[in-house]
């Protein structure tokens, strides 16, 4: 069946490359190796969300049994989202698991991921900490997600207050990324974040 997998990816590759979404710079796929098993994807953050303006890179692995099994996709770009692990980039999305259908394509997967960024599913979380913040303190969540988009995905919005808090933690001797994770986890309370990092 490897034959089907390769043939299909070749076709899909053309489909995504050709489609209008690329023109709008919203989704993109690139080849990593020649045998079409490893791909690099990119999706643009949907407008009117905390991810707007960001470009999120994805690692896509095509199993030999594709399209009978879904592609394995994870975020390479760090992202603050209830259904995506802020540590590993693993994604919790039904169509990448039991709801996969052979008729789906890379294009539909990338578009679904974009839709996931626009509409999180906090009740089916991948990252429990983020999901809790999303539900209990949505304003902070939105700010954090926007800040991560700027920090890792090239988003345009600089949140000076949050930047300052990270700088102050860096001055305490903490690594920038670890400081950002700790602050994000502890709702941007510098004292609690420092405690969290020390313990």
């Amino acid at each position: 069946m490897a034959n089907i997998a390769e043939q299909r990816i070749k076709r899909e590759f053309k489909e995504v490359v050709r489609s209008d979404e690329v023109a709008a710079c919203n989704i993109k796929v690139e080849l990593v190796n020649d045998n079409f098993t490893e791909l690099r994807g990119e999706i643009g953050g949907p407008p009117d969300t905390a991810y707007e303006g960001g470009k999120f890179k994805l690692e896509i692995n095509i199993p030999e049994t594709y399209p009978f099994n879904p592609p394995q996709v994870k975020f390479v770009t760090k992202i603050w989202h209830p259904n995506i692990s802020s540590v590993t980039g693993a994604i919790c999305l039904d169509i990448l698991k039991d709801q996969w259908a052979a008729a789906m394509t890379l294009r539909t997967v990338l578009l679904s991921l974009q839709a996931l960024l626009a509409a999180a599913e906090p009740d089916d979380p991948q990252d429990a900490v983020v999901a809790q913040q999303y539900k209990e303190n949505n304003a902070i969540f939105q700010r954090t997600a926007r800040h991560w988009t700027t920090a890792y995905a090239g988003g345009p919005n600089t949140d000076t207050e949050l930047e300052e808090k990270i700088t102050s933690m860096k001055n305490m001797g903490f690594d920038e990324h670890k400081a950002r994770v700790a602050l994000s986890t502890k709702d941007w309370d510098v004292t609690r974040a420092a405690e969290y990092l020390i313990s």
Partner: protein, 361 residues
């Protein structure tokens, strides 16, 4: 020493040297093999007498490779002897003298203009004929060099098997005449097919040969008819099979049954099909092939191992076709319900119930 079984005459003269004879095609050749002290066959030294050396010199690379790959002495010797045998055999065949005179004479008799292609020793020929409608037909002839009186192997592109009549005295001309006669007998058949090929969208075969007596003709999006034409009486009703979603095909099937009496052997095949199905075939000039042959919803190809997607989702708004293999593989990967030789599941596109016959390989 297990290699004794392969080469009983190859005798160890010291701990790491063997000397003696190997037997290739009934003759013995002097050979000696010296293995380095570390026992690594890759660096072994292989010497043999000039008679053998001259013959297998060209195969030095292959022999080195075998030395490299060999797990032990016995397996290497076995491969080595095999290489020697095939090399010697081919050189024996090449050296055999072959008289082209009689064949030249036969070609002369036939006329050089009927020869399309010929190889250097005249044993492989391609004869050609142009039929009444300007179609070129080729007959490939392979002559047995050892025995010119035996029947040459002929291959032709005709809808039926052509059994050539051959007696020891008949030559190329005799074969050619039979070929010409056969070609002219199929003129009507090919003319009927040409009319179809020119005026309809042929989905299958992609590049029809003269021997192909079947066509899959597009009738509409995802609907097609597969016809098998009688090459002797091409105007009679062919074997018809309608392909597509049951809902879409049912209507046509009924028409086909009701209108059968309107089939008129004096009309051409295409006209008859149009009359009986009561439709106009979509023509290549007015429709694009993409509109008519949609790719499989799983592998996204049209042709997969020579098959076209012919299982169709019964939901009218979906109508997505799938290759039998693809759909079966998909339903199987979901461990769907199977009853006798049918597997039940849902269309991977619209989730409408769909079923497929189990494929037993």
């Amino acid at each position: 020493m297990s290699h004794i079984a392969v080469c009983p005459l190859l005798i160890p003269v010291s701990d790491n040297q063997f000397s003696g004879f190997i037997n290739v095609l009934g003759s013995s050749y002097r050979v000696s093999i010296t293995i380095p002290t570390d026992g690594n066959l890759q660096d072994a030294l292989l010497e043999c007498e000039w008679r053998l050396h001259n013959q297998i010199r060209r195969k030095a690379g292959a022999i080195m490779q075998k030395l490299k790959d060999a797990v032990d002495m016995t397996s290497f010797l076995r491969d080595f002897i095999l290489i020697c045998e095939t090399t010697l055999k081919s050189s024996v065949e090449q050296s055999k003298w072959f008289d082209t005179g009689p064949i030249l004479q036969q070609i002369q008799e036939l006329g050089w203009d009927r020869i399309q292609n010929v190889n250097s020793d005249l044993s492989q020929l391609q004869l050609t004929t142009i039929d009444d409608c300007g179609r070129q037909h080729i007959m490939a002839v392979s002559i047995n060099k050892q025995d010119l009186a035996s029947q040459p192997v002929c291959s032709v592109d005709l809808p039926e098997k052509l059994d050539f009549h051959w007696s020891g005295k008949s030559g190329l001309k005799h074969l050619y005449q039979q070929f010409e006669a056969a070609v002219s007998s199929y003129q009507h058949f090919w003319n009927m097919l040409k009319e179809i090929d020119d005026n309809c969208w042929i989905l299958e075969p992609e590049h029809p040969t003269f021997s192909a007596n079947h066509r899959r003709i597009a009738l509409g999006p995802n609907i097609s008819i597969h016809v098998v034409i009688n090459c002797r009486q091409p105007n009679t009703l062919p074997e018809c099979r309608l392909l597509g979603a049951d809902s879409a095909v049912a209507d046509l099937r009924e028409k086909l049954n009701i209108n059968l009496h309107r089939w008129d052997v004096d009309r051409s095949l295409l006209k008859n099909l149009e009359e009986v199905l009561d439709i106009d075939f979509p023509s290549p000039t007015s429709t694009s092939k993409e509109e008519l042959s949609i790719s499989c919803g799983i592998c996204y190809c049209n042709l997969l191992d020579e098959e076209v997607p012919d299982v169709v989702c019964e939901e009218k708004r979906c109508g997505q076709p799938f290759h039998r293999t693809c759909l079966y593989e998909w339903l199987r990967s979901l461990s769907s319900r199977q009853s006798f030789n049918t597997m039940f599941g849902e269309c991977p596109l619209c989730s409408h119930p769909i079923r497929v016959k189990v494929i037993t390989s």
